[in-house]
């Protein structure tokens, strides 16, 4: 019995740690709708600051907890600085852009942390007075875990009082429930948001600091914790603090006992739970439905316009340059351009559902990497020729997208995005674990093009034609009834249903089309690299694609191409210097502040006349 109780208590202490990180994230999202990717960074900074504060302060229990509090306050201030200097400028930008801004902050903090805190892993100090263990029916349980189990409910109660018994808290809750109303009440939103950001970051710092005695501080903490934190927030219902607590409890216990009964489950347990919860409860355990019509209104203001003559000329010139490129470029440039093109197709497929479709996916790498794997596995196991593999990859991914999409289109907004993430992570785990078939982490090697396409110039043309063709096909699709129906569902679900459009079905089909083209991109990609590894299906890969789309601009049809070129170009250019993440992050921040509509969006907005001018009309009649 003892071991089971201890396992249970261990699960509780895990839950505590999870709750502390997730509470701040949920709070920030609830009020400001910022999907704060930098939350994990705040957590990491909290751990480091607490470590140095505790080793600098005198020994003893008082100073230990003092150090933790100092760290939490420091991180809270850091969050405030980020909010005031960066996020405040872009609250009017689309929500997704805030995601990009906070991702940039994450990149910057990664390198700053390396610079300030050093490369070596730090082992956390033990908590004075809580450095032993107690006996529970013959099993030992660390005292600090018991303390942790108590801390989370204390924080929960504290937050409850703050949110329910103070004027500030009431305003915060009002903001969570109805932002427009808050503005109408004449509340100083700026100060409120800054305050919430302080509190949220404070909690992240506290979470990082409090876990010190259970582990320590290292430079991978930020990315390692952020996914788990998001899962807790989403499972609990975004913006709901009690929900986060409940979700942390469930996830903490399930992972703890999962380890006991299914040791292999560690890769995927959390995401599996999230998928199940979201399928059953589309807004998390204690979340409330969002006003669906509000979430996409900002996108709906951007009409889709056919290419102006100027753009067509530019496109033709670009195509001509690309076709003539092998005449004057070196072989590496060909490879780089080819890669940009393939990646642009993947980006375009994500843009297709995210921009005009209004469905954000955080798991698009499932289809990109999945396409790469499908092609590679056909070649590897049954010696499929390249030409056939390039057909089979998109077919398989369309089928996969039909399966995943069937669940996802029942959701909307961030919940939909997180469900795609969960499915992508499940696919990734399958590829990792099913080593006999997929090669596991060692990947699939030796996937080279057919002999006729082995030459780099020919392969370049192949890549350009397939990717360019795919991009143009997706673009064309947006102007057909198929694309219009998808856009109609984004613009107004209400109206779409009222004129007889089966909204979910349209979204489902669109999802499958996006998956298919991402699969095509992955299929050609694997032949250019010769090998494929689970990384191509992982979360970071999904975010590569998403960031590129945002970089180009979610409002502009040429955004994905521009974004892909900018992303791969930047990555290639600055990965030569040390601290390149610092530079990349700073560039992202600048872009977000200067071009809130993305690069392509900025230029098309600058060069186009007012939307709806006669330009569009004359072209249609002409």
């Amino acid at each position: 019995m003892g071991p089971f109780i201890v396992q249970f208590l261990t699960g509780l202490s895990n839950a505590s740690a999870l709750f502390l990180v997730a509470a701040g994230l949920s709070l920030i999202f609830g009020v400001s709708r910022v999907v704060n990717m930098a939350h994990g960074s705040f957590y990491m900074v909290g751990a480091y600051v607490a470590y140095f504060a505790i080793s600098w302060l005198p020994k003893g229990g008082f100073w230990f907890w003092g150090g933790i509090l100092i760290a939490a306050v420091v991180v809270g201030l850091l969050g405030t600085v980020v909010e005031v200097l960066l996020l405040r400028r872009i609250y009017r930008a689309p929500e997704l852009f805030m995601l990009m801004a906070t991702f940039a902050v994450l990149l910057v903090i990664q390198d700053l942390a390396l610079w300030v805190f050093g490369a070596e892993d730090l082992l956390g100090p033990r908590a004075p007075g809580l450095d032993g263990s107690i006996q529970i029916l013959g099993a030992l349980m660390p005292e600090y875990d018991i303390a942790l189990i108590l801390i989370a409910p204390l924080v929960l109660v504290g937050l409850w009082f703050l949110l329910n018994r103070t004027r500030w808290g009431v305003l915060v809750r009002a903001a969570t429930e109805d932002r427009e109303m808050l503005a109408a009440l004449g509340v100083n939103q700026k100060r409120l948001f800054t305050g919430v950001f302080f509190l949220g970051s404070f909690l992240a710092g506290l979470g990082g600091a409090v876990q010190l005695p259970k582990g320590g501080a290292d430079l991978l903490m930020d990315l390692n914790v952020i996914a788990a934190a998001f899962v807790v927030v989403v499972v609990g219902g975004m913006g709901s603090i009690p929900g986060a607590f409940l979700a942390a409890l469930i996830l903490g216990e399930l992972t703890s006992f999962g380890v006991l009964f299914i040791p292999q489950s560690t890769l995927v347990m959390m995401f599996f739970v999230m998928a199940v919860v979201l399928v059953i409860r589309p807004y998390g355990l204690l979340g409330k439905p969002e006003g669906v019509e509000h979430t996409v209104s900002e996108l709906a203001q951007w009409p889709l316009r056919k290419a102006s003559r100027k753009l067509r000329v530019t496109g033709a010139v670009l195509a001509a340059v690309l076709l003539a490129f092998p005449l004057f470029a070196g072989s590496f440039q060909l490879i780089l351009i080819g890669e940009i093109a393939m990646f642009a197709l993947a980006c375009m497929s994500l843009f297709f559902i995210t921009g005009p479709g209004g469905m954000v996916s955080f798991g698009h790498a499932a289809f990109f990497g999945g396409g790469a794997y499908a092609a590679a596995l056909f070649v590897h196991h049954v010696n499929t020729p390249m030409e056939l593999a390039l057909l089979l990859a998109p077919t398989c991914m369309a089928l996969l997208a039909l399966v995943i999409g069937w669940f996802c289109v029942r959701l909307s907004g961030v919940y939909l995005a997180m469900l795609t993430l969960a499915f992508a992570q499940i696919c990734w785990a399958v590829v990792c674990q099913w080593g006999r078939f997929t090669g596991g982490d060692d990947g699939v090697l030796g996937i080279w093009p057919s002999p006729w396409a082995g030459n780099e110039v020919i392969f370049y043309y192949l890549a350009i034609i397939i990717s360019g063709g795919g991009i143009l096909a997706l673009r064309y699709l947006l102007f057909t009834p198929f694309g219009y129906a998808m856009r109609a569902c984004r613009d107004s679900r209400l109206r779409a249903a009222a004129i007889g459009i089966h909204v979910r079905r349209r979204q489902w089909y669109s999802f499958a089309v996006a998956g298919m083209f991402a699969g095509l991109a992955g299929g050609i990609y694997v032949f250019s690299k010769g090998s494929v590894f689970p990384y191509e299906m992982s979360i970071p890969r999904s975010f590569d694609i998403l960031l590129s789309v945002l970089l180009g601009g979610i409002h502009s049809l040429s955004g994905p191409v521009v974004g892909s070129a900018a992303f791969i170009g930047l990555e290639d250019l600055i990965s030569r210097v040390h601290f390149w993440r610092l530079i990349l992050g700073s560039i992202f921040i600048l872009l977000v502040v200067c071009f809130p509509q993305g690069i392509a969006g900025y230029f098309s907005a600058r060069f186009a006349k007012e939307p709806g001018d006669q330009e569009a009309g004359s072209e249609r009649s002409g």
């Binding site: 209104s297 709906a300 889709l304 057909t480 209400l494 009222a498 004129i499 709806g612």
Partner: protein, 249 residues
């Protein structure tokens, strides 16, 4: 002859609050039926139940004799029901013309078409409808930047595009000037009689209601308290007490 719409003993509650309590009425072809009542009387709930957005707790809805209780909006639309909303719902990123084209595409089952662009499909038919409702000059402008009155007309065009037998109009003239209101209602009445469409509409402006409705039903606290011709309703004591007050002098 079958009734266009038969609503029978409708109940719907939200978290313990009964919004609609046993409402029954029906509607004939070519008839303009106005549903009136103070705010919170249950008008919008009734509309949303008939439209399929809400499922009633009890009671049934029949359209053209077919039981549609619990059917989804897109299926109800296919039976020949057009709808306009209290707060206009159009596709703001599309032009006026495209908005109407969408209805044709949907009604003719062309939504999965991938080999032709929208710009070549149902243009003439859509333009004809825009002329009918009088916004043809605006055809190339996105709905997102249209004036409110024009939007209402676009919605009307969209509601008419799939050749409906029944029109559900939630405050079709809200936010318009008085002159525009009367013109629009006259237009609706004309279309309804020409095409033998039954129209169920709600309206706050009693001038509009009494000038245009063939028949009126009155809701209060989710209960149907009176129905009949405008004259009958005007003379109903309870209606006067609860709702019309000073209006019906």
């Amino acid at each position: 002859m079958t009734k266009l719409l038969q609503v029978d003993g409708l109940y719907k509650s939200f978290g313990g609050v009964e919004a609609v309590k046993g409402v029954s009425f029906d509607l004939e072809e070519g008839e303009l039926l106005a549903m009136i009542g103070p705010n919170g009387a249950g008008k919008s709930t009734c509309f949303n139940v008939i439209n399929g957005q809400l499922t009633p707790d009890r009671g049934s809805v029949k359209i053209l004799g077919q039981d549609t209780t619990g059917m989804k909006p897109h299926n109800i639309c296919a039976l020949g029901v057009g709808r306009t909303f209290q707060v206009t719902a159009t596709f703001p990123s599309m032009t006026v013309l495209e908005n109407v084209q969408m209805v044709f595409l949907s009604a003719r089952g062309r939504l999965s078409t991938v080999h032709r662009t929208v710009s070549r499909l149902f243009v003439e038919q859509a333009m004809d409808l825009l002329r009918v409702v009088g916004v043809e000059s605006q055809w190339a402008r996105p709905c997102g930047i249209l004036a409110y009155g024009d939007l209402k007309r676009v919605e009307l065009a969209m509601a008419l595009a799939n050749r409906p037998r029944l029109l559900l109009m939630d405050e079709p003239t809200a936010g318009m000037g008085i002159k525009e209101r009367l013109t629009l209602m006259k237009l609706i009445g004309k279309i309804a009689s020409e095409r033998a469409i039954g129209v169920l509409f709600t309206e706050h402006d009693m001038d509009v209601v009494f000038a245009h409705a063939d028949r009126i039903i009155v809701l209060n606290h989710g209960v149907l308290i009176a129905q009949g011709s405008p004259a009958e309703v005007r003379d109903n004591h309870e209606v006067r007490r609860i709702y019309l007050g000073s209006y019906a002098r």
